[in-house]
Point group: C2
Chain length 374, copies 2
Amino acid sequence: MFEFQISSKNDRARTGAFTTPHGTLLTPVFAPVGTQATVKTLTPEHLKEINASLVLSNTYHLYLRPGDELVREMGGLHRFMQWPRPMLTDSGGFQVFSLAQTRKIDEDGVTFKSHIDGSTHRFTPEKSIAIQENLGADIIMAFDECSDPNDHAYSKLAMERTHRWAERSLKAQKRPDQALFGIVQGGVQADLREESARFIASLDTPGIAIGGLSVGETKHEMHDMLDVVTPLLPEDKPRYLMGVGTPEDLINGVARGIDIFDCVLPTRLARHHSAFAPDGRLNLMNASFARDERPIDEACDCYTCRTFTRAYIRHLIVAKELLAGTLISIHNLRALIRLMEMIRIYVADGTFQANVPGLLKQWSNNAKRGVIAG
Amino acid sequence: MFEFQISSKNDRARTGAFTTPHGTLLTPVFAPVGTQATVKTLTPEHLKEINASLVLSNTYHLYLRPGDELVREMGGLHRFMQWPRPMLTDSGGFQVFSLAQTRKIDEDGVTFKSHIDGSTHRFTPEKSIAIQENLGADIIMAFDECSDPNDHAYSKLAMERTHRWAERSLKAQKRPDQALFGIVQGGVQADLREESARFIASLDTPGIAIGGLSVGETKHEMHDMLDVVTPLLPEDKPRYLMGVGTPEDLINGVARGIDIFDCVLPTRLARHHSAFAPDGRLNLMNASFARDERPIDEACDCYTCRTFTRAYIRHLIVAKELLAGTLISIHNLRALIRLMEMIRIYVADGTFQANVPGLLKQWSNNAKRGVIAG
């Protein structure tokens, strides 16, 4: 059912094709996030037009609202939100630890209060899998605990629990048409990451996720952890770096052998009027754009850049018109998807490693100037 | 430049074609409102897909933000908002009287304070035309005063001033590529409406607008005023009933010889989760839709109805996702545009008058049940 074929390699970077019930993902791939069964402000048609292939949705949010049973009754997540291509759901673990009002963890699971209405709920590995089976995404996650990355003692405890929960998650799975990934944890502790990578790699899963990164550690620490983890993972399984990231993170991740990424950054930036652009991230509310007749990015092929000026988008922002968020979201997502398309070409023709410094320079510049322009 | 050809008549109802620099309008036509150079939450692509032909934008709003000079520098309103089909701007008069914080009217014009920042501004007929020439819509309006419709003495004074302002507006016009309409006023006073219709009809304009209706008077009063006014207007000019209306108003307006309508209702209802539907307006937040797998309207051909269930739209509303407003706006606008398409067919084949009772029954029912469903 789930086949991963590597088509080219360039040092640790690789391109591949991961077959799922809703189509084949060309990797490396960046997945837009549709937390509540919608990529904020965009229709599925917009997502198809920017060549999105994989969309992520959040188990915690959908369990609370509208409820995973309801989604199942409505034919599953693909049909409910009308996304015909591959989908991925997380385990809910990260949101329980980052969003829920209170939480109490024990060996069996976590009891928490909803951030929406304070009602009490309980997730266990079995419950997380049952919810994800109701939602019906193509790729699902084992239930995990994401710990404070700097606390070695607790990270070890959480990692060991995550391993036990991964085994329980696998045992709980009933649907054969969903690829259940185990999640490597271990904070920023090299010894724990190594132990976790070996353990998760030993499980019979069609892919492996790396969790607990991009949660406050430095870029350097993140790269170190990837350098520890990915060499220990089997070549023939796709690797998913959860919740990452920035354009630089995508480049650095691919260089370290990552195949799948997701992040809310492009759409969140869009709602704060910030757009990816070649000379640096633009805060389009800035008065300097009031009469700027250029598109956000002259080299971009998205609907927004083919159609609208910075002046118009700035007007929409100042006038508090919601269309601004839609137009910038289209561009920001397309920018990252286009970056991944470019990276796939570089890896395929063997020039990726040679292009990494140039790509990083372009995008780092972007990030830095963004702060100034913002 | 502006030609109006009547293609069929059915009692007072008629179909026609009004030629403008940005294409020919088939009438009767309903215009979505893009107050701030955007039909709220929709892209121009969405508007094309629902077969919108004419879009209205507001002079008062665009003058204040982003400024009509800026719009002119950006190539005019069509290019700024990327709407390639016909556009219409109002005179700004109605908004000055309904939105501005304070206003002081004299024979020459109106001084008012912006509802945005309290800054002081002044509109005169000459200023309104200059602004509308900067904006560059295909159809523009003479500056007018909309009075309390029930105050006969003041309505007479305001009407007479509106007539003098219409003459000044015509004199101030420099661009030959914009159709400047005079506006009939006169509150709900039959004698004033008659006088105003005769005066405005005597001016050399390519079309005639009827203002000051749907501002709080009864439906009966509005129909009475139309019955007074339209028989006095020349057959060969398009008639525009400003700011109207509901589906019932469109049917009743066409039956009384109106050719052009605009209203914020479809998009405003959408933002309040209310959708036009055959068995009555639906408040889609209602819990009864949580598992409703039907589209909003099974007979509707819009993207929303072809694609999404009521259950999904209700989920978006409950989860406070902005996509809900976009999807319902697409449907509500398409519903009125489709109603006008149907009316044009009925008029053309001579069955409109025979179909009025059925159309009114369908849409009145809609309105009534909407209150219950809501």
